[in-house]
Symmetry: C2
DNA sequence: GTCTATAGAGGGATAGAC
DNA sequence: GTCTATCCCTCTATAGAC
């Protein structure tokens, strides 16, 4: 569970706001949203707790923004990587690699927050986040459907359910995968391909 | 996320202790351990908050016992179902079905607590729970190794990693699978088989 | 074994000076 | 934009009556 210095949301500017969000991603992942206090957070960015509320109206607002930033960043990255893929197998691999990167790379802590602190969002925020995620999910479904037409995925496989299995399989890697070992993200992505592709193309 | 009446840990006696644990599984899943208060819990079982502490020394102790009970129950059930399986494919199917049942059936809420409230355990409790889970995990690994020898799983697949992918894939079903629809647990288990078995036996 | 009452600690958020 | 000070609330856990 990433004790590494991957606590900074990549691409986040070095502003008080950015520093608060980066520290929040780290703290919320480590202790959980409820246990992590605004005082903890203030200390992490070198402020007094009262000052935090100049940048965000409530603690929940901080959580919401961590989630928005991480979805935006990872959706954009996946779009880029999809464009670079040559064939369909390459596209599936790009999706796998991209998501494993999201979960285990620099945005890993924020992704864990996105997944595990869901209940701490207000219902309105949940709705908002859900809509952002749908764009991302649609990219997966489109590629899976193409792969099915191309014969890389069995005819009788429900791609909707398959995507859900994969969401779980890849998301869970946050709990056990340790970057820097013998197995790098690319290799892990290759292994994950056999969960999806027929035979084992 | 199960709003159904699956809040009772099957096999749990109708004692104050049992009722507290069953209500705790439900509440901790719904609100998270931190947000769920002892007062909530007391109300759910028809007591005053002070009375809860006659049965459990601390709130964490309640969490710990929910986890212990659900592991014990599901480990035992899986052992039984494994015995009934005829061949190796049947054993893999039994594992899948059994775990999907744990996650989505009567013990679903307690399983979600086991997975998502991990950080709220004291380190000593974490160690204890980890040891209980290892027995369960070993059953999976043994069957996977048999399946590999029998040629049902590709030679070059790392069964350790495969098990981790499957843990995630099946565990995540708690968030989207709704029992009572067109797809029952057995059918879902069959679908999940293709994540593991070669070709798609 | 359950109740009432409350101690004791820590939390989110606000107000106003600088 | 950050600080100090603090309000006000809620929470876990305890004490002692019944």
């Amino acid at each position: 569970m990433g004790t590494k210095a991957n606590s900074l949301l990549a691409g986040m500017e070095d502003t008080p706001r950015g520093r608060i969000l980066a520290a929040a991603a780290h703290l919320f992942q480590k202790k959980g949203f409820e246990r992590a206090t605004v005082r903890d957070l203030a200390q992490a960015v070198g402020m007094q707790s009262g000052s935090i509320f100049h940048h965000f109206k409530t603690k929940e607002e901080i959580l919401r923004n961590v989630m928005i930033e991480v979805i935006r960043f990872n959706t954009e990255r996946m779009e880029q990587e999809l464009k670079n893929a040559k064939d369909i197998r390459g596209k599936v691999l790009a999706l796998m690699k991209s998501e494993l990167q999201s979960v285990n790379g620099e945005t890993g802590e924020a992704m864990a927050v996105l997944i595990y602190e869901w209940r701490s969002l207000k219902p309105e925020s949940q709705q908002e986040i859900l809509e952002l995620r749908e764009v991302y999910e649609q990219m997966w479904l489109n590629v899976f459907d193409d792969a099915k037409e191309a014969g890389l995925i069995e005819e009788d496989v429900d791609t909707f359910i398959l995507r859900r299995f994969i969401t779980g399989a890849l998301g869970w890697s946050n709990f056990w995968y340790k970057p820097g070992g013998a197995l790098d993200i690319s290799a892990l992505a290759e292994k994950s391909l056999s969960l999806v592709l027929k035979g084992k193309c």
